[in-house]
Amino acid sequence: MPLPTPYAYIVCYDLKQPAGQYKPLFDELQRSHLWWHYLTSTWIVLRYEALAELAPKLRPLIFQGDFMLIQPAKGPAEGWLPKDAWDWLQKNVPREW
């Protein structure tokens, strides 16, 4: 059952196969309502699915030996990123404080 408003999730992974094998995973993540991908192994996505619905969608798209973590995304964020990355996070990720 879709959520009334999109929810922000952070998706991190550790993939062992050649990059070309993961096109279905990247395509699915890019189908999100909004998405952010400025780090090689990390996405922040806004989805209408609940976490319990999102995980079964993404899990089949990785292979044996790969790792993946999906959890709610909350700001504020600190770090070292391009300005566009910070602007997107400020605009789309809700803050914990």
């Binding site: 050649p18 990059a19 070309g20 094998q21 990247f26 890019q30 999100s32 909004l34 998405w35 952010w36 991908h37 400025y38 700001g75 504020p76 964020a77 600190e78 770090g79 070292w80 990123l81 391009p82 300005k83 566009d84 910070w86 997107w88 996070l89 400020q90 914990e96 404080w97």
Partner: protein, 135 residues
């Protein structure tokens, strides 16, 4: 005669080196394997001076090897075409081509590396103390 055989050996070594250097992908390796089988077939037919039954058996084994390599390549082309042609540079190039950014601002891996990073322009102060703090 000595010079001729030395020139022949040098030519063979040069050809062999070129053949090995031409292998940059799994498909290249299969081509090399087929060339080896072809050389084996030619050898059994003309060079080795085998008796007739052995010649026929060796040619049969060579043809079987050829068909095995051929069938394997056909299967790989259908099932895993990318694995067959990806060279040592292709993996790096493919990763560099992968799109980064956001839904409204797509950038390539190369462009991402060219961007200048900075610390967050947004305030992160105001975090509430936890239960064990500020008591």
């Amino acid at each position: 005669m000595n010079e001729a055989s030395q020139a022949g050996a040098a030519s063979y070594v040069s050809m062999r080196t070129k053949a090995v250097q031409a292998v940059h992908s799994p498909l290249g390796f299969f081509v090399l394997a087929l060339l080896i089988v072809e050389t084996f077939l030619f050898g059994t037919g003309t060079w080795f001076g085998l008796p007739e039954p052995w010649k026929i058996t060796a040619i049969g084994i060579g043809v079987l090897l050829f068909l095995i390599v051929f069938g394997t390549v056909v299967w790989l082309v259908v099932a895993y075409p990318q694995n067959l042609v990806f060279s040592e540079e292709s993996h790096v190039q493919f990763a560099a081509m992968k799109m980064f950014g956001s839904e409204s601002h797509l950038i390539t891996g190369r462009d991402l590396q060219a961007l200048r990073p900075e610390s967050t322009p947004n305030s992160t102060v105001g975090q509430l103390p936890g239960p064990a703090q500020g008591a």
